[in-house]
Amino acid sequence: MEYIDNSFEAVIGLEVHTQLLTATKMFCSCPNVFGKEPNSLVCPVCLALPGSLPVINFNAVKLAVKAALAINLNINKKSLFARKNYFYPDLPKGYQISQFQDPVSSNGYLIINIGEGKEKKIRINRLHIEEDAGKLIHAGYNSFVDLNRAGTPLAEIVSEPDLNSPAEAVAYLKELRDILVYLDISDGNMEEGSFRCDANISVRKKGDAKLGTRTEVKNVNSFKFVEKALEYEINRQIELLLNGGKVIQETLLFNSKTGKTESMRGKEEAHDYRYFEEPDLSPLILGEEFIAEIKNSITELPRAKRERYIREYALSEYDSEELTRNKEIAYYFEDLIKANKDRVEIKKIANWVINDLLFELKTVRLDQELGLDQRTTLDQSADNFEIKHGGMIPVKIEDFLELILEVEAGNINKNTGKKVLDEMLSTGKKAGDIIKEKNLIQVSDEKGLEDTIKQVFEENPNELEALIDGKDKLFGFFVGEAMKKTKGKANPKKVNEILNKHIENYKSGIRINQEQGQS
């Protein structure tokens, strides 16, 4: 990372808020769902009507403990809920139920990649449980309060200031999000606000032991913005110091339109949250068994999987990453390898999954979700396909393997294979049946292909002339025409061979028919 003066270094700590994927809210039985009519998912508890009381959602506790264990935190068998008091229209009770002293977990770490094959250990101070606030919508002179989100379970994950660049911050966030999504703890959706980040930033001269004054940048809602906001803020602080100024401790908001950070409130306006133990809830006591059960439910995490794929399957870092990004895909791939029993090279199976299955799934997703006729693909949608697809890959392991084997055996060519896969996804039929039904068996017999190519030459005399004259680009044109004539069934390898042979012959002045006549 290049700053305006590279004798400085940045010190960054991140606070991540992630909504937990529970059926109901943290302290009441209202559904935990995004995007419903404003104030339709509320009750006396999340509206903070007089007399209402909170009741802990134990599924939220389970998910929080699971997340904590996955990032190597110690689970505290006794933890306390506390009230964080402040007035704001989106906070119905006038306080947020959170954890302050004695959080549910503390002292963990996360290993991140920092490029060039290097890793870095980022210490995590704590993960604690709390509830989300509602939302304010400002329209002209009016402000509206939507309390559907009020009371949604959150885990707050606080890192130590161990990150030293915007890139490291993003790597940390991605690693963290992958884990949370993998374990069905969060949907990791930054746009909908279910995965949010506040950053604490300071700068100091390289080599200085003392930390500089920090600022806090709030609610940056994409990885790109995190990088931009941090970059801007680091440079702003360096510039300030270079000009003899001082960094003031304050809370900033990132303006994604200007790419700048703007002051929200200074230290003197900082809230005194008057934390104290929540008297409406008993201390949270977690038994050994409860913790052990959750520990056992944690499956292999993406990092471990990636490393294993490289080690055991000899896959590239890129391939491993693609395959492990989504849990369902990874498990699907592993099942394929098992069923394959070493018949097909693992790298080839990986390619099928990455290049074909994922592509088709994204396309299918769009067709079904948006009812679109055209088959477009969105880059980022792969990350979310799992949720949109209901966590299902609509092709059975053995069916997909059958398709791969058909191609490997040369019964159909790779392009036909893709079409068959498409058909499989939309109809649920098996590869063999589709190939039979549509008569897609690859045309490999020499005589037939010779005739086809001859026909193509006759239909395109000018192009042929040009090709013979050395316009090599036209070779592809003839391959394409031949494929068209066979409705794509021709064995492309054979077509190439035959075409090559004839062009060479032409070039050396021998015509096919002459040759034929001679024979």
Binding site: L47, P50, A139, R274
Partner: protein, 597 residues
């Protein structure tokens, strides 16, 4: 017709059971009496005569139906009479089908939420708040087919010991209308004492049931913390609040207690205690049970400041119990002196947070100014037709009004059909210079709360906010929590030696209205004997044990309350002993307030 004058719940129940009276008659008796005398006593904030009459008719039909079925089944049983399988006596009822409270009219402290009814907590800020749900206590009373007469007065948000802190009116003590009924459940105690209901429910955070019961000559019981669900009871101090009955006698308080006690999953601090059939225990109470009972009297409770008549009354009862074979032991609760200080830190801290929800945003009173014409309007969220309880909104610029109003030159509230009966002349000394208003969110908060809350509530919010502030937390809140632990230990040690603790409920009989309003500290001291019980989560009750002498300088002919404190969850022993003392004192038969109205 049988005279209904001053009957208990169990007496009324017998009459209903024997078809001597109808619930409608009882209900009508109370309604009429309230209409006649409550203009003096001022115990009711809202009276629900129509609803009560309706419910009474329903209860009568229910009772009729059940009695018919019973006589039928008795006839059936009659035919089998000789086979010896008739386990129940002929006159026994299925108590589950005909609970004590069926058809019995009760008053309810205006702190319990009841669906469709106003719940004000005696505060301007909730003056027009209509509850959309039932508190667990009300839900359980409804399951018992009780009759809801109305909501009774209290100190605003249960903060006070005299009911003078009500935003609406000051309740009078039926024994002497120049005097306070005590508080905060003063309306409950006065309505029971003046026979304006069969019984009542109140709440007790530091003595708010026991002290008014003592001052009004009725029985008040504060159960073990966690025994009665707090769900739907407006919170003052969550770790201290506990609901309980105010009743005419010990058996009634047992009946009321058992009807609403028990675990509630909606209150995480409610406990899975085994709820006993307290009414049976009280009915079976016998003087022989006193023999060998160890009763502790804390020397700290008989200290300076205790009225001499109350002191001699305690001595008298002590001697009575001794005669019956009780062992009276002087004990010490050495940290009692710190309990008031600890209490006022913990209670106000929790209150400062519990009362943050009254912010004028979603419901309740809201201050608003329309900048365009300079008029200051007082909007009550609950009288707004366009905004229901969930349609929260506010205006971030000039006027805090509905979304579709045109903030032009007209009064933007004119389309809202507002109940603007709150005006600038009635703000109890709050002076707002409307020309200096900035019309921002902070003003909405601060003026809604400044106007909406009364003096004592604001005093306590400020105390609590201060105690929890950064830099003060350790010195106040944390220290108070440590003292609370000491007090718990004091009691634990004491109950290692004795079965029950006995002492006065209040250091003085009912004081004069206005006597302590300017001296909050002396007001706080009136709870000196009750407060530590809440800090220790223990059950305790006050029962009338005599009257002060006519020449008493603190007031003559006024009721004295005896307090019994029991170990955690020992309500059974407490009620049994109370019943025996009640029989010895025979207070109700000897003394009644002379209403003369």
């Amino acid at each position: 017709m049988t005279s209904l004058n001053n009957l208990t719940i169990h007496e009324l129940h017998e009459l209903l059971k024997n078809k001597e009276i109808k619930s409608a008659d009882i209900t009508n008796y109370y309604i009429e009496k309230i209409k006649k005398t409550d203009s003096v006593i001022n115990s009711y904030i809202s009276l629900d005569s129509e609803g009560a009459a309706e419910e009474a008719d329903k209860a009568d039909k229910y009772i009729q139906n059940m009695l018919d079925n019973k006589s039928k089944s008795n006839n059936d049983r009659g035919s089998n009479y000789h086979d010896g399988n008739n386990k129940n006596g002929d006159n026994s009822f299925d108590e589950n089908a005909f609970p004590y409270l069926t058809g019995i009219p009760l008053s309810i402290k205006d702190i319990f939420l009841m669906k469709g009814k106003k719940t004000t907590c005696a505060s301007k800020i909730l003056e027009n708040f209509i509850s959309p749900y039932d508190s667990t206590v009300i839900k359980r009373l409804k399951e018992n087919n009780f009759i809801f007469l109305g909501k009774v007065n209290m100190d605003e948000f249960a903060m006070g010991s005299s009911t003078e802190n009500s935003a609406f009116k000051s309740t009078k003590n039926p024994w002497d209308t120049k005097r306070v009924p005590g508080g905060s459940s003063g309306g409950s105690a006065a309505s029971v004492s003046a026979d304006l209901c069969a019984g009542s429910f109140g709440t007790d955070t530091g003595g708010s049931i026991r002290q008014p019961a003592s001052l009004c000559g009725v029985v008040g019981l504060k159960p073990t913390y966690g025994m009665i669900s707090r769900y739907g009871i407006i919170a003052f101090s969550s770790s201290l609040d506990q609901a309980g009955p105010v009743a005419k006698d010990v058996l009634d308080s047992a009946i009321l207690l058992e009807a609403v006690s028990g675990f509630d999953r909606l209150d995480s601090t409610s406990r899975k205690f085994k709820i006993k059939k307290y009414s049976d225990i009280v009915k079976k109470a016998d003087k022989s049970k006193i023999k060998g009972l160890k009763i502790g009297i804390p020397k700290e409770f008989l200290s300076e400041g205790l009225d001499k008549d109350i002191l001699s009354n305690i001595q008298e009862i002590k001697n009575n119990l001794k005669e019956l074979g009780a062992e009276i032991i002087e004990i010490s609760l050495p940290d009692t002196a710190y309990s008031i200080a600890a209490y006022y830190v913990i209670a106000t801290s929790e209150a400062s947070s519990n009362l943050e929800r009254y912010d004028g945003i979603r419901y309740g009173y809201r201050f608003a100014q329309n900048n365009n014409n300079g008029n200051t309007n007082y909007i009550d969220n609950n009288s707004r037709k366009d905004v229901n309880n969930t349609g929260a909104l506010y205006n971030n610029n000039n006027s805090y009004t509905a979304a579709n109003n045109n903030t032009g030159n007209s009064n933007s509230d004119s389309n809202l059909d507002l109940d603007l009966d709150l005006d600038l002349t009635n703000l109890s000394g709050i002076d707002i210079d409307t020309s200096k208003l900035k019309n921002n969110l902070e003003e909405l908060y601060s003026y809604s709360r400044t106007i909406g809350f009364g003096k004592e509530v604001k005093r306590r919010i400020m105390l609590g906010t201060f105690a929890l502030s950064a830099g003060y937390y350790d010195a106040y809140y944390k220290k108070a929590s440590l003292i609370r632990k000491l007090i718990i230990k004091n009691y634990k040690d004491a109950f290692g030696k004795v079965d029950l603790i006995m002492g006065p409920t209040s250091p003085t009989p009912a004081f004069l209205i206005g006597e302590k309003t300017d001296d909050p500290l002396s007001m706080y001291l009136s709870d000196i004997y009750t407060i530590s019980v809440n800090l220790a989560y223990l059950p305790a009750m006050s029962l009338p044990s005599g009257l002060t002498k006519e020449n008493n300088p603190n007031g003559g002919g006024l009721p004295i309350g005896l307090q019994i404190i029991a170990p955690w969850c020992a309500e059974d022993k407490m009620l049994e002993t109370a019943k025996i003392i009640e029989d010895i004192v025979n207070f109700r038969k000897k003394f009644q307030p002379d209403l003369n109205i």
